[in-house]
Structure formats: structure tokens, C-alpha cells
Point group: C2
Chain length 133, copies 2
DNA sequence: TATTATAAGTGTATAATACACTTAGATGGC
DNA sequence: GCCATCTAAGTGTATTATACACTTATAATA
């Protein structure tokens, strides 16, 4: 997306697309959804991510599938093929013990980030004269 | 930095370095500092960024200099050379009108992100049994 | 039989970061 | 005068994350 032009969300208000590539937090979101749902497959997570996204950009299927692959290589999730269900075979993922720990680490890191961002936003707002009232 | 190993912050608690490449928010931080300080040069901003960083990783000189260059190409800042001061010549930056608007957009976007992150962290914490008490 | 929904990807370009390295002016110690 | 150090502004290049398009294949439905 070219900076300053967002065709998806219009010109009503600035959105992450128009600000360049913002981190989408695919990894912690995937770990969180796996923890919450127990077992799931990628395609189902794609739907869940449409409602969970932390920015106003949606997370792409490609990004999710690659992230799941990497999480498995790192030992944070394990997968098995489900060929019993109707439709194409599903690769069913599950959090490992290590993955649970990793999610908890993400929660700590993102907690700090949320606080820092809130503080920054508050300080930055003070630099501009209030337009309301 | 290899994931899971942070030589800078030790093993006391998870840090952004060990979680992979997290967005460092160099652009909004630079815009904010320029708004706050009026006129500054890159080297001074590097020092300021050491105290303002939103993650526990410091922002690198290389990233800042490239960001300032890009901001100028986009018309968000303007620069002039200061050869009067002692030492090597300084490229002195200043926010433009467009840059002020862009900073305000960043504040809106990061405000939303801070809220989303705080909500996510809160929901994720609920998935783990409390260890305290 | 053709279309659509489901499911899991790959290809490839751009963008952000990580770490190392370079260039060059000024200052202070010897 | 010479060398180390501080100041200032970069560049080189590899890795990681994202963006968007595209492919493959199974099953259900019209």
C-alpha cells in the first residue's frame, strides 16, 4: 500500500495501511487463538483473525500459514493431518508446553508495549492544542 | 538477534529482542521529538531516542538517519546544513505543516493500537491461572 | 458438468530492522 | 606535530515481516 493512500478504509481517518508497514502481531495472535480454542487449523484461524486483528488491516492467509510453519519449526506448536473431516485435509495445530510459555512471554512484552504506546500517545496529544471545547 | 536469546537484557524477563523483529516506531518517535524540540539534528535525536524508545530495544542510528531522509522526501520535514556550530556540519531538521498533520495521524493510529493491545493482553492474561496469591 | 466453498499453501516485491562499517571535522593530551 | 576521542552523518548488506497475487486440490451444490 502506497503511503498516504488507503483504498480499503477510505479517507475518513488515518489507518495503519496508510502509515506504511506496521507490525501485525501475527505470531502472538496465532498463539493466543490456539490457546483459547485448543485445536484448530489454519483456515479457521484466518476467519478468527478477521475479528481479532490488532490493527485495522486484516492478517493475510499467506502470513498466517508461514507463521504457523515457523512456530512448528521452533517447537511452539505441533500439527497432525485431519483427513476424516469433510472437504480438503486439514492440518490441525495445537500449542506445546513451550508454546504456552512463549505466549506468556508475548503477553509480558505486549503489556509493556501497550503501556509505552499509551504514554507516548498521551504526551504527543499534549503537544497539540485541543480542538474540542 | 536469534529468537529466544537476548544477550543485551539477560534472561530475567522476555524482551522484544528475543521475540523477533518488533516494530520500533522510528517514524512517529522522530516526528514527535521534532515537534517537541522545534529544530534538531540527527545525532541529537539519537540520544533523545535512547530515553524515548517504546520497546526495550534502542533505535539504531542507521534507522534514524534513513527515516529522516525518507521523511524529507515525503515532505514531512525540511532540513538545512548548520556549519556555524563547532564540530562536523549538522543537518538541522524541522517539521513541515504536512509533517505536523502526519504526526497527528500517527497519534490516532497509535492510540487505537495501544487500546487494542491492552485489550488483547487483558484477554490473554485471563487464559492463564493467576500465579500471584 | 460447472461453479463455489473449503483448505493449504507458494512466488516475489517492498519495507523495517540488525549489526557492522566508513568518512570526516574538531578537541585534548603527549 | 601526532594520535586518540568525541561529534556528526551516513552506507552495506543480511534477515524478517508484510502485501498482493497466484496455485493446487477436495467436496458440495446448482
Amino acid at each position: 500500500m502506497r503511503r498516504g493512500h488507503c483504498h480499503r478504509h477510505g479517507a475518513d481517518q488515518p489507518c495503519t495501511c496508510a502509515m506504511g508497514n506496521l507490525y501485525r502481531f501475527v505470531e502472538p495472535l496465532a498463539l493466543y487463538l490456539l490457546k483459547k480454542r485448543g485445536q484448530t487449523h489454519g483456515y479457521e484461524l484466518i476467519g478468527a483473525l478477521r475479528e481479532q486483528a490488532l490493527t485495522d488491516s486484516t492478517i493475510e492467509p499467506g502470513a498466517l500459514y508461514r507463521t504457523l510453519r515457523r512456530l512448528e519449526e521452533s517447537g511452539f506448536v505441533s500439527s497432525t493431518w485431519d483427513i476424516a473431516a469433510s472437504g480438503p485435509a486439514r492440518r490441525v495445530y495445537e500449542l506445546t508446553e513451550l508454546g504456552e510459555q512463549h505466549l506468556q512471554e508475548w503477553v509480558i512484552v505486549l503489556g509493556h508495549l501497550a503501556e509505552s504506546l499509551a504514554g507516548f500517545v498521551s504526551e504527543a496529544r499534549d503537544l497539540f492544542p485541543s480542538t474540542s471545547s
